[in-house]
């Protein structure tokens, strides 16, 4: 306790140095005076009194010194002194300081930003209590699109009832299209998205309502009074955050729905389960209504405490065959097996490798920054040898001088970190607002305390890393001889030069690795953009048409036909069509089979289905390979027809023309194949097409997406087409046309995101490497001014001198590139799984990067070379 108190006081004393100094002087002065007074009283002469007193008291300065040591903390004071001195000396060289701090800020800022991304997506648990016990169920071993990998209500109920490994198993309805509503009764009609959830959904996730209550069991029964929960953002936006909203009602698709509660702001369903989805409401999933919809629910379970994922998996492996055996009914389509994974891994697992690569890239950048600064510090040290020699001569120990250097590098890295954190804040808040990037949890990215701790760690690490090389050189050098030297930096000699060359070579090697990695990723990205979508997204716009003509298809066809013919007559509209869902946006899986073929029991007869109007295929630019498009005469009353894609034709009608052939699997009656169209990309640009079928509009009351091909921008289309829509269907909310290209952009957004980040790091690395080469070559030219002068006096041509300098540049760069290329062979294997149609050893990328590096090295070496040729022999020989 006493000791602690003393230390605390000493710590505080460090910061009131001057005041303490003054007080001590005063006290000692008064001591002396009192002594003199006594001596005078004893009868001495004033001079004698003073002399005696001074003798008695001993050395004034020694006293002060030992007092100082005991009053504050000498170690800390020296540190502060060093830091002050560092700041002073750095201010004397503003150019160097600015370059160093800026470089550090970029390096540290990039690191903190990427750390925040990695932290949010990988390290931080999901935003639910005990989220490590939440488990995701994947159906059909992950094969196929959304439909096969989700569950039907029956299988959900079986798991919820029988799976003992779980405290709860819950589900939500994943086909958002069936829970989109037109909201009226609160301002303008607007299109809202609800998510239907099982009764125990919020309990399982551990999300209590912020206001009101969650759903009661009875509210999931057929015929119950409709209720809804508001999401926080929509509550604030639409209802002004009014707590009185609980108990009010709104109309969703013309049904009065009572708002029973508001969810907390911390609960962001979309961020976890469906990045980019704007969810307005949650509604109770009425199981008896969606029971017949097929596979539409996604399941999440909460493990009982102490139960491992493996134990749960063992149990579900036993359960699914039992369920299958107990359900002979035809809508029990499949095995309904469950591959369990932690929810966190399901959400972000696919990103592990990308994020790891991103992290490695910023780590490389940081290394390059360190190497670069080491180099700068060495150059600075060279011009300060005299200063250090002088300080050494005045009594500073070698350790103290090295500490001074380290303090300087730490001060620099702290300044860089301060700026870098600002940069990271900018980057993260920018990323958090990018709703167009389809990455989970992205909107929750922020620089948090963990990121700040990381910054501190990185700052100290960097400061020490780049301070070490100059420190080692200083501690080895002979300071006396430095002091004697008259020439500029002659003493540092070859070893110093060699260190700098090694640094530049490693910098080039690191940059090379980064460039090749990002080059491969960039090439993959270009390949992805080059993928034949199967449709033409340019000049295509889309809007949701809200038409609920009383559930059945008979009335729906004529209304949508009227809409289409009206829209097509609007000037500027080339063509128009309607589909329930667009590719790359949403999909549903039905089935397709050739009745005249034998299928194995486990054969995949799944097919993606799109309910489309005549003209949809033409409007989308989907090529018709054979046969004809759907027409308005193809109603359920006439012959059932289907258009299939090439993959479906190949799989189910191999070696024959499917036109006119019977097809089953999508209706209770067989239909006739009337057309074959080109494949389109369904889930993403990078997954290969699956069998797909197109059916006439009367197959389903699902959403209707009006697609318009026109050179007019979406905004113009909105203003010309929306009045037509609202006239025909008065409930049509005032939605805006979106460009179909945004679907494509969204689909490639994660890849674009990574490529952009990795390439900008690579670009940064290249610039730093160029600076490094420039610095070293330029410095060596300066050191060799005399040599070049002599050589030119003896007849060397400027061309020869230039070749000499450029040759040395190329030698350094060449060694670095060689090492980088060898390292890249290894690193490109690591990122192989992230590449798309690109070989890890892609010669094109390697050659391009090498060429780029040679160009950059030559440019960096060119200016010093130019300077070397301009040396005047007479001046060169005279100087120094």
């Amino acid at each position: 306790m006493r000791k602690l108190r003393a230390w605390l006081i000493r710590f505080v004393e460090v910061f009131r140095n001057q005041q303490r100094e003054a007080e001590l002087s005063g006290e000692l002065e008064s001591h002396l005076q009192l002594h003199i007074d006594d001596n005078l009283r004893a009868g001495m002469s004033p001079a004698e009194a003073r002399r005696r007193a001074l003798i008695k008291l001993g050395g004034l300065e020694q006293t002060k010194d030992s007092y100082r040591g005991a009053a504050g903390l000498p170690f800390l004071e020296a540190l502060i002194q060093d830091a002050r001195f560092a700041v002073r000396s750095l201010r004397k060289t503003p150019g160097f300081t600015a370059v160093a701090v800026l470089t550090l800020a970029l390096g540290i800022g990039a690191n903190v930003a990427v750390f925040s991304v990695v932290n949010t997506l990988l390290l931080r648990p999901l935003p639910f209590p005990d989220s490590e016990r939440l488990v995701w169920f994947t159906g059909n071993h992950g094969q196929g699109g959304l439909s096969p990998t989700t569950y039907n209500v029956g299988s959900y109920e079986e798991y919820a009832r029988h799976a003992q490994s779980f405290e709860e198993v819950t589900c939500y309805q994943t086909f958002w299209g069936s829970s989109e509503y037109n909201m009226t009764g609160h301002g303008e009609p607007r299109h809202v998205q609800a998510v239907m959830v099982a009764n125990n959904f919020f309990r399982t996730l551990g999300v209590p309502p912020a206001l009101g209550r969650t759903f009661l069991p009875g509210e999931h029964q057929k015929g119950a009074a409709p209720v809804a929960l508001l999401t926080d953002w929509f509550w604030r936006q639409e209802f002004g955050g009014d707590p009185q909203v609980v108990g009010q009602s709104v109309r969703l698709d013309n049904r009065a729905v009572t708002i029973v509660g508001v969810l907390p702001a911390s609960f962001d369903f979309a961020a976890v389960f469906s990045p980019g989805l704007r969810v307005h409401f949650f509604t109770p999933a009425v199981m008896d209504e969606i029971r017949t919809w097929g596979n539409t629910v996604a399941m999440v379970g909460r493990l009982r405490p102490g139960i491992s994922l493996e134990q749960a998996q063992t149990e579900t492996n036993l359960l699914s065959p039992q369920f299958r055996a107990a359900h002979p009914e035809p809508d029990w389509f499949m095995e309904y097996s469950a591959d369990l994974s932690y929810l966190k891994d399901h959400v972000t697992g696919k990103l592990h490798r990308s994020l790891f690569v991103l992290w490695a890239a910023v780590a490389l950048i940081l290394l390059i920054v360190c190497v670069n600064l080491s180099n700068l510090m060495l150059a600075r040290l060279a011009s300060r040898t005299k200063e250090f020699a002088m300080r050494g001569a005045l009594g500073a120990s070698r350790g103290r001088l090295v500490r001074q250097l380290l303090t300087e590098s730490l001060v620099l890295s702290a300044a860089g970190a301060a700026l870098g954190i600002g940069l990271a804040f900018g980057i993260t808040s920018y990323l958090a607002r990018q709703s167009s990037i389809a990455l989970p949890l992205l909107n929750t990215i922020r620089v948090d305390s963990a990121a700040l701790a990381w910054t501190l760690f990185v700052t100290v690490l960097v400061g020490i890393l780049f301070g070490i090389a100059p420190g080692v050189i200083l501690s080895r050098s002979n300071m006396q001889s430095n002091l004697k030297d008259s020439g500029r930096g002659l003493s540092e000699g070859r070893s110093h030069d060699r260190v700098r060359s090694v640094l530049v070579v490693s910098e080039v090697a690191l940059a090379c690795v980064l460039l090749i990695g990002s080059g491969l990723l960039f090439r993959s990205f270009l390949r992805v953009l080059d993928v034949d979508l199967g449709f033409q997204p340019s000049n295509l716009s889309v809007v949701d048409v809200i038409y609920d003509g009383g559930a059945k298809g008979e009335k729906r066809g004529p209304v949508l036909q009227e809409i289409l013919s009206e829209v097509q007559s609007i000037p500027g509209v080339e063509s128009a069509g309607i589909a329930d869902m667009l590719p790359l946006d949403r999909d549903r899986g039905w089935g397709l089979a050739n009745p005249s073929r034998e299928y194995r029991r486990d054969a995949d007869t799944g097919a993606i289905v799109r309910i489309v109007s005549p003209g949809y295929l033409r409007t989308m630019g989907i090529r018709l390979i054979e046969g004809r498009d759907i027409s308005w005469q193809d109603t359920l009353a006439n012959e059932r027809v289907v258009v299939i894609n090439e993959t479906a034709a190949r799989r189910h009608f191999p070696g024959e023309s499917p036109i006119g052939r019977a097809a089953t699997g999508f209706d209770n009656k067989p239909g006739t194949v009337i057309g074959v169209v080109a494949d389109v990309r369904i889930h993403s640009l990078e997954t290969s097409p699956e069998p797909e079928i197109y059916l006439p509009l009367n197959y389903g009351p699902e959403g209707a997406q009006l697609v318009v091909r026109s050179t007019l921008p979406p905004a113009t289309l909105t203003s010309s087409i929306m009045p037509v829509l609202r006239r025909i269907t008065p409930d049509q909310p005032n939605a805006a046309f979106r460009s179909v290209q945004t679907l494509v952009d969204r689909s490639v957004s994660p890849r674009r995101f990574f490529v952009l980040l990795v390439s900008s790091f690579a670009g940064l690395g290249l610039v730093l490497a160029a600076l490094g080469i420039f610095g070293v070559i330029s410095y060596s030219v300066t050191r060799q001014t005399q040599e070049f002068g002599i050589r030119m006096a003896l007849g060397a041509t400027p061309g020869l001198v230039r070749r000499n300098v450029l040759g040395r540049t190329l030698k350094l760069a060449g060694i670095g590139m060689g090492m980088g290329a060898v390292a890249s062979v290894v690193t490109s294997r690591v990122i192989a799984s992230l590449l798309f149609q690109t070989e890890p050893g892609d010669p094109m990328t390697f050659v391009t990067v090498m060429f780029l590096l040679v160009c950059v090295a030559l440019t960096a070496g060119y200016f010093p070379a130019l300077r070397a040729t301009r040396i005047q022999p007479s001046t060169a020989l005279r100087c120094e």
Binding site: A6, L24, G26, L28, H31, L34, D37, G58, Y67, A70
Partner: protein, 114 residues
């Protein structure tokens, strides 16, 4: 003439505390003089030893200081005993008593007994 003795490390603190207890608030010079007088001018206290000792006592909370005026009207820093200091003085006085008693016995016992 006997050499004047420097104060032993560790004992000075105790002497300072005792002085302040006996006389009340006092400045550094006064403390030094008093210790020298009490020792019968055997001890010599210079400020190189005194002030660091005072500082340490103050940091540890045994004494407190404030500026005031001496009897002949000179500005000086006066030290006074705190409650913690009083406590420490009592404790250390007791310990010293025991230590010296033990040493006394010990040194006495080493003399050859007859």
């Amino acid at each position: 003439m006997a050499e004047k003795q420097e104060v032993q490390q560790g004992t000075l603190a105790l002497m300072v505390l005792k002085t302040l207890e006996a006389i009340g608030p006092l400045h550094g010079y006064g403390i030094a003089r008093r210790i020298e007088q009490v020792s019968g001018e055997i001890l010599s206290v210079n400020y190189g030893t005194l002030y660091p000792a005072l500082l340490k006592l103050e940091q540890e909370g045994d004494i407190a200081s404030e500026w005031g005026f001496s009897e002949n009207n000179r500005k000086a820093k006066f030290y006074r005993l705190t409650r913690a200091g009083r406590h420490r003085l009592a404790k250390e006085t007791h310990e010293w008593g025991r230590t010296t008693a033990i040493l006394q016995k010990f040194l006495g016992a080493t003399e050859p007994s007859v």
